[in-house]
């Protein structure tokens, strides 16, 4: 039964070079370059070596961003990750202080984070009618609450045996500077997950779930399985973030990881990943994360108050989402008249 009208349908994609330059990722590359130029002028000590030295502290949050991107693409949100980082950091310090081998510390932390993520995943996949915002709001309070109970009235703990954590903050000398292994790890994991989201069947399904969940279900996609995997991975990512957090601060307290979920969401959204689902990609997320990290390092070098940096991040975030909409509606208004 060939087409009766003999109509042919084009299936050759447009050349993507032009689209790539005009895309949000293209703009982000410019932003990243712009941020670095700005920082170089702003701070006299802003150079590759210093950047590499000061970066790790901020890079840990990128692990959260990577998986948060998947959650946002699904059109959902997880605001419990900051608290999960807190609980994981607490657990890692406690296990570390028992004198256990470092591999045990790592495993215990990963298990804690994964369990936290799995708890979210379990509730959200059993009670699919519940909004993720509310469930993760509750677990956020619970996870941090457990950390508060564990930490007791002092509210803080320090890792006495820092030997293991030092491994995580090792730097490898590559000639132009000592590159911290967290940078390698972030890039490798980032690229792997960017490929998974952009090129794999799993990624395609995530977009389907985020764009039209019902149609995805009817198309044979295991929606709840995908949600379970992603929320659980989010917990694991929080554990990795916590390990690197402890490796740079050698301790944890009840406010550890406070606001990390917001930072992760901000990085992803500034990277063009819509919080309403189905849009954006991890390349944008990674670029925007690096732009924010560089900005923080640069401003931090001149002792600009952390709050001012947050002011800039907040303004960028709102502007990044608002401006395209405003320009779009202006353009429509102009066209009309």
């Amino acid at each position: 039964m060939a087409g009766k009208s003999g109509r042919t349908i084009n299936n050759v994609p447009e050349s993507s070079v032009k689209r790539m330059i005009l895309s949000w990722e293209g703009i982000l590359v410019l932003v990243l370059i712009g941020v670095n130029i700005f920082c170089a002028f702003f701070s006299d000590v802003y150079n590759v070596a210093n950047l590499l030295r000061q970066m790790p502290y901020y890079l840990a949050e990128m692990f959260l961003m990577i998986i948060m991107a998947f959650i946002l693409v699904m059109g959902e949100i997880d605001i419990s990750v900051g608290a999960t980082v807190c609980l994981c950091a607490t657990v890692s310090c406690i296990v570390c202080n028992t004198g256990a081998p470092f591999i045990v510390v790592i495993l215990a932390t990963l298990v804690t984070g994964t369990l936290c993520g799995a708890l979210n995943a379990l509730i959200l996949t059993i009670f699919t009618e519940l909004p993720p915002m509310i469930v993760t709001l509750a677990t956020q309070i619970i996870f941090r609450g457990i950390a508060e109970i564990v930490l007791g009235s002092g509210g803080s703990i320090s890792a006495s045996n820092t030997q293991g954590f030092k491994i995580l903050s090792t730097k490898i000398n590559l000639g132009f500077g000592k590159v911290p292994i967290i940078l390698f790890l972030v890039l490798i994991i980032g690229i792997i997950f960017a490929v998974i989201l952009g090129k794999s069947t799993f990624g395609r399904r995530v977009y389907a779930v985020g764009t039209n969940r019902l149609a995805a279900h009817y198309s044979g996609i295991h929606v709840q399985k995908i949600r379970f995997i992603i929320y659980t991975m989010m917990g694991t990512a929080a554990a990795i973030c916590a390990l690197f957090y402890v490796s740079s601060s050698y301790g944890a307290n009840t406010t550890t990881g406070n606001g990390y979920e917001m930072d992760a969401i901000a990085m992803a959204v500034f990277g063009g990943i819509s919080s309403t689902g189905g849009k954006g990609n991890l390349a944008g997320g990674i670029l925007s994360a690096f732009a924010i990290v560089c900005l923080r390092v640069g401003l931090g070098q001149k002792n600009v108050h952390a709050q001012v940096v947050l002011l800039i991040v907040g303004a960028l975030l709102v502007a990044a989402v608002a401006l395209p909409n405003i320009i779009g509606s202006l353009r429509r208004a102009v066209k009309k008249s």
Binding site: I77, I123, F127, E129, L130, P131, M133, I134, V135, L137, A138, T139, Q140, I141, I142, F143, R144, G145, I146, E148, I149, G152, S153, T255, N258, M262, I265, A266, V269, S274, S275, T276, H305, Q307, V308, L310, L311, V313, G314, A315, L317, V318, V321, A322, L323, N325, I326
Partner: protein
């Protein structure tokens, strides 16, 4: 027959269930520790939670249109810090003027947030997240990078927090007045009903001539007004203003009070009475724990579990109700 169904409706309503829970909690705690069963204890409890209770009303409006506002605590900090610094350096002495200034700042914050959300179509969680950072940072800037305004500079302002009228603490009066105004506004005023309409079905509201964008702008502005007012209440209650006030809890307690009070995240559902009861439950937990000999360290975990239990039980009840309705269907 009709009366019976009204009674049945009342008994089956969520507010009634919450009322039972509040009374039960109250009775259990009072039985263990009679000290709780006193006018002063309740008054103190309300006084200590004035900020959450008042702001929950704004969050109700925001959540009714399907939105969320996590920037409100930062707006509170900015408003509070501003009047704190005006007391310290600006020669501000008038209590009324302080309230007006704080409310005006909060209103401006809410208006800006509302503009961004309603005019530039930024998702509420993203927009308010951005402004959470921005207002908080402005609060720091206003405080010259972290100065406090303590009781010594606030003059007679903290008297408002300790003063009373007709035997009731001023803060309790503020709460009562706020709830009465909102109760009437949400039930008997066209504008209040429009908020419900927009939350229940925005497309229909648009078609029937309601300006959905303006309603959205309105709810965030209301939230702003209450944030500003609460900023002043905060300074009056604790006799101090510091830029990091309520930074860690953020808006979570307020949202939690609304959720426990039966406000739906997807909009259209929720009542002033529900919010009142929800914030009562939230307020009673820290009060009740020491009396029950539970370490105060547990209070957050218990709050979190409570929210989870409430939403899960709600979901289960809904499922059971749906299933019963289905099995009653004759075939």
């Amino acid at each position: 027959m009709k009366q019976k169904s009204t009674l049945k409706k009342l008994l089956g309503s969520r507010e009634f269930l919450l009322l039972v829970i509040v009374i039960a909690m109250f009775l259990i705690v009072s039985a263990i520790n009679p000290a709780f069963f006193s006018f002063k204890a309740i008054s103190d409890m309300m006084k200590n939670n004035a900020v959450t209770m008042v702001m929950a009303l704004g969050m109700l409006c925001v959540m009714l249109v399907g939105g969320i506002d996590i920037s409100c605590m930062s707006a509170l900090a900015l408003a509070a810090m501003s009047i704190g610094m005006l007391f310290k350096y600006g020669g501000l002495t008038s209590t009324i003027l302080a309230f007006l200034i704080a409310t005006a700042i909060g209103t401006a914050c809410g208006f800006v947030v509302g503009l961004i959300i309603s005019r530039a179509d930024v998702p509420p969680i993203i927009a308010t997240m951005g402004f959470m950072y921005i207002w908080r940072a402005l609060g720091y800037l206003v405080s010259f990078g972290g100065e406090w305004a303590g009781a010594n500079v606030l003059g007679t302002f903290p008297n408002f927090g300790t003063g009373s009228l007709l035997g009731l603490n001023n803060l309790v009066w503020v709460i009562i007045i706020a709830y009465v105004i909102f109760f009437i506004f949400m039930k008997w005023f066209r504008l209040g009903r429009k908020i419900y309409a927009v939350g229940s079905n925005p497309e229909a509201a648009q078609v029937s001539g309601i300006n959905v964008r303006n309603i959205k702008l309105l709810v965030y502005t209301i939230m702003g007004v209450l944030s500003g007012l609460s900023g002043a209440l905060y300074v009056a209650t604790y006799a101090s203003a510091q830029p990091n006030m309520n930074e860690t809890t953020g808006a979570m307690d307020i949202i939690a009070a609304c959720v426990i009070g039966g406000v739906s995240m997807s909009g259209g559902r929720g009542t002033v009475i529900g919010v009142l009861l929800g914030s009562f439950i939230m307020a009673m937990i820290p009060k009740a724990l020491p009396l029950l000999h539970i370490d105060a360290l547990w209070q957050n975990t218990i709050k979190g579990v409570l929210i989870l239990v409430v939403v899960v039980v709600n979901a289960v009840l809904q499922r059971v109700a749906d299933r019963n309705a289905l099995s009653r269907r004759e075939m």
